[in-house]
Symmetry: none
Subunit: 216 residues, 4 copies
DNA sequence: AATGAATGAGCTTTCATTCAT
DNA sequence: AATGAATGAAAGCTCATTCAT
């Protein structure tokens, strides 16, 4: 009978431990900049386990990517937008997107890293391809309801709308260092954050409500 | 290290040659992923010259960053916006920003890379800190003229406006791989590009013209 | 880096193997002149192992220094001088010092090398600082006994005595090349060696016995 | 007519400038550790001049060695010992040797460096081989006069005597770092210096005066 | 399920030196 | 007599990975 007190952590726990440490390392230094040794130094088991569980540095990176994308997808699905009015639902979606980027800079950094690598891991991962996003569906529903109700006049499609929402939310986190330095603005200051949140939502909701631009 | 002021034509040519190749390499693979050997293999001189002119891999990267930021700054200054109406000037600025990002994906990638590195090189470079941007001044002038003429009602400040313009222009290039894959959209297709260009301009101009969002 | 305490026999063997080869290389060429590649070429494992076990060229040099100083200290402690008369004990100490330098030119060369480097490695090594020498204690005991017995009249202190003994023993090995060439003397010829050994002992023992120098 | 104010330093001055800087560099870092670039950085002309005047790093090192050995030889010849009594002459020679080493640590370091390199440069240099030392002759004269006068009883030969004098004078400078650290003694403190000077002279003069060591 | 020891390949960087004028 | 530009060769070191148990 093994003594529970000295029982080793089980496999899944070890795996998660490695994954958590790896996420931080890859987010901090990118794929090329991350060091397997650095990850090894911070996990409770040995470096050999990384290869035991994930096969290679790239395999580990992929697992991190899958975990991280899984995270945002799971949350998006729990927004429960159908009970809100189209405008309310849209605002809620924007706010969620804003907050998620703000609170998960690691996610933002990892997406940047993956784009530097031409998104090739994401493209190759079956898991990630099967993680079919519900965002587009949600936005499509909102758009349809809004147009039916006459509150949205824009002809924007759901994917483009998603881009318009994501872009500023992402940019202010991904580029906070260069933008912040060049224009002397602290992107993470609370008052800046709130102002940005309002501004982004106002601009997009306004745009959808169809205030056509008047004579150029 | 040679004094730039008294450099011979040939030396300057060699330097530029290295710089051009290095820009491509750093944009393609990032700072950690770039290989000094790979850069050397693509220039007519030897790897040794890289260290002769730039001191280190990081020194070369910094030189690339300075060159690339210098490029966009120089163009921004030649837009000649004062002769246009506020709305026209704003549209022109948006179109320029859009086109510049679209046509210079290397610039976008390098900025992403620099942000992965917390903007530390940009922060440390006196050259880059002295490259004082005229964008903000230009936007400030446009805003003032537009408000004076009663066409702009938004209270947005110039830096935030710059962010609102840059974000979507940047995002559709920086994230084209992940976004394109996940939502099955070819971000570089001409019709997509033109639609995005119009959409971004409409949204921002509309927002400034103050179509207040109607009751939520 | 492996924990020395739980190192396997093979690992220890590999370590020792590297150390032995490195000692020869550092003694032969100095710290700057030694080549990591040259050391690697002479061991059965690869160059990589040097960094695996010692971290850096300097780390390896330090390990060599520690080994070499440990060697002489260990021997000094086994001289068993207490059972001899003060004069006999002193002679034995001088003879040991002479023989050790004569038989371990690598030790002499390494100490020269370390002094060229301002003794900075020795200063920084905790191991070396803790290798507290028993020579001084031994000499102090000899001096005390000799004075108590009235055979030593000199007031020299133990450290200075140690210097007076070491200096000629060291010098004839360390400087054998320049001295030998300039004064056409083969410092390693057996008859020279024996003459020097006698001469050094006689001079120092004589000095301690207090033959005061007569009026100058 | 060249303007005297902007006339370049003449060849000999340039040569000396390089030599002075090189001596410091070689003494500080040894032959392998010295950097041609470091020397170049501290001379008033360009690095190319080093090769112009001295052909190679080794050529420069040799020139330094020749200069440095020339220095002590010149001084030794000006001691004017014949007018002193044998004991006085001997003391004067010892004091000179002591002071010279004390005041010229660079000389000591360079000799150490040359010995690390097996004295091969000294051996190969015609200049250095022709720099026939007068020390031995001087000592031989002193010994002869002392024996004739009955004040010296030792049968030591002049070269061995020279070694006995040089060894401690050299050692306390060459090994000041390791010895000083291991035995916690500041070898360059004025009171230590004076005590050593007296001690060395007393021991050697005493030895020559033939205080035979009494029964062991 | 787990691991300590070992490693080949390739990385950035350095160095004394020479070319061309 | 003097020099700025250029360089081949090799140095120290790092990295993801696998062997053997």
């Amino acid at each position: 009978m093994p003594d529970p007190a000295v029982r080793k952590p089980d496999a899944e726990k070890t795996r998660q431990n490695i994954l958590t440490v790896a996420r931080a390392e890859f987010a901090e230094h990118g794929l090329s900049g991350a060091r397997v040794d650095a990850i090894a130094a911070r996990i409770s088991t040995t470096k050999r386990m990384i290869y035991y569980y994930f096969g290679s540095k790239e395999g580990l990176y992929l697992a991190v990517l899958e975990q991280v994308y899984g995270g945002i997808r799971r949350l998006e699905q729990s927004l429960d937008l159908d009970r809100l009015s189209p405008v309310e639902a849209l605002r809620r979606m924007i706010d969620f997107t804003f907050d998620y980027h703000e609170q998960n800079p690691d996610f933002v950094r990892l997406v940047s890293v993956e784009n530097i690598h031409h998104g090739e891991h994401l493209k190759r991962s079956e898991t990630l391809r099967n993680l079919n996003s519900t965002v587009i569906d949600s936005l499509r529903t909102i758009l349809a309801r809004g147009r039916a109700g006459g509150v949205f006049h824009s002809e924007i499609d759901a994917v483009d709308l998603h881009m318009m929402i994501s872009a500023p939310c992402y940019y202010r986190v991904s580029n906070r260092y260069t933008f912040g330095t060049l224009f002397a603005r602290d992107m993470s200051a609370p008052e800046v954050r709130e102002r940005h949140k309002r501004m982004i939502a106002d601009a997009i909701v306004g745009y959808l409500q169809g205030c056509a631009t008047i004579a150029v």
